[in-house]
């Protein structure tokens, strides 16, 4: 009996914390370039499209596949995005500010380090926690994001 209760509790905890796959996100079409905090992220790499926002991954201890985490003290935006399957990317934007071409660094795709590139931030709204922009570099082209970020 105790075993069933534990399984039941585990199931309830899992269900209450699970995030559903977002069927409105088309992972085969780049999202439009917007600046409204639409939580979109996409780019082209080796002519394949990668779009975030559809899947969740609990190994990251987060609910959504697009994670922009801003450390105000260090003035660094930590970017992590999960795509379909096990594909994922992460990079850092140091000293993010609107207008400038900023080098994004520490770029990894599926665990492999790839070339860094340039990001152009078109909106950085610290009141509404919205960051929007475009990026490219190395194998990555046509990158764009429009995200409501979280403060670390």
């Amino acid at each position: 009996m105790k075993k069933y209760i534990i399984i039941l509790i585990a199931f309830i905890i899992y269900s209450s914390t699970s995030c559903d796959e977002n069927y409105s996100v088309d992972p085969t079409v780049l999202p439009p370039i917007t600046q409204n905090g639409e939580n979109t992220f996409g780019f082209l790499m080796d002519s394949w499209i990668y779009v975030g926002g559809r899947y969740c991954d609990y190994s990251w201890n987060e609910e959504q596949s697009i994670s922009f985490l801003y450390n105000r003290d260090q003035n660094i935006m930590y970017v992590k995005v999960l795509f379909s399957g096990n594909d994922h990317i992460h990079f850092n934007i140091n000293n993010p500010q609107k207008g400038d071409n900023i080098t994004y660094t520490n770029t990894y795709f599926n665990g492999d380090q790839i070339d860094n590139g340039l990001v152009k931030i078109t909106r950085f709204d610290k009141e509404r926690n919205i960051i929007s922009g475009t990026f490219e570099g190395g194998r990555i082209t046509l990158g764009r994001f429009d995200v409501v970020y979280e403060d670390e």
């Binding site: 409105s24 996100v25 088309d26 992972p27 079409v29 399957g85």
Partner: protein, 211 residues
């Protein structure tokens, strides 16, 4: 949808009853038509989500094939196949969309003379949406299938023995809430925001086989 099914069933039953009461000679009619189609809802899940690009798929070509078995002077039943075709391209890719529809039809001949007839018809069938295109040089295939209902109006004018010219208009309304997209060796299901209907206007010929 329940109303459409009910109307369809009533048409079938009525036709069968009339056939039993009437010794009107049976006719087999085969028709082929082609023309123009217009979407009254937006196509979605193309390889670009630009509104202007999506609008290009509002107009397309249509062809139809139809077989009708005449039960009596006023009614018949048959089957219709139609296909809406539209394609376009953009800077990074292209889409070739076909919407195929097949269904049984119940026909009512509301006007009938020796040389001219007007019939209305309706049927509930299956549509198959297929968008085969590419994006950034890689193939992309979006598709789904679901229930659709067709309402039609057809005018026939005799032009020779057994041969008629036909003008047909039809309206096909679809259902469905998800589409499958195959890309990069993966198939994903994606929500459709709303449904699409299409209106067809076609012209063609019909051949009637008299008993």
């Amino acid at each position: 949808m329940k109303h459409f099914i009910l109307i369809f069933m009533v048409l079938i039953v009525t036709s069968a009853q009339l056939a039993a009461q009437n010794d009107y000679q049976s006719l087999h009619t085969v028709a082929v038509r082609a023309g123009y189609g217009h979407l009254s809802g937006k196509l979605q899940r193309l390889s670009s989500n630009d509104d202007n690009y999506e609008n290009r798929f509002d107009y397309g070509y249509v062809w139809e094939g139809e077989y009708t078995f005449r039960l009596n002077r006023v009614s018949g039943f048959g089957v219709v196949f139609s296909q809406y075709i539209a394609e376009s391209s953009h800077q990074y890719g292209k889409d070739h969309v076909t919407i195929s529809y097949i269904s049984p039809l119940a026909n009512l001949f509301v006007i009938q003379t020796d040389h001219f007839s007007v019939q209305i018809n309706s049927g509930i069938g299956i549509y198959y949406y297929n968008d085969y295109g590419n994006t950034f040089g890689h193939s992309r295939n979006a598709y789904n299938q679901d229930i659709a209902t067709r309402f039609g109006l057809t005018l026939d004018q005799k032009i020779a023995k057994n041969l008629y010219i036909e003008l047909s208009s039809s309206y096909i309304t679809t259902t469905g809430d998800r589409m499958k997209v195959k890309y990069h060796d993966q198939t994903t299901e994606i929500d459709i925001n709303g449904h699409f209907d299409h209106f067809n206007l076609t012209l063609g010929i019909a051949y009637r086989f008299h008993n």
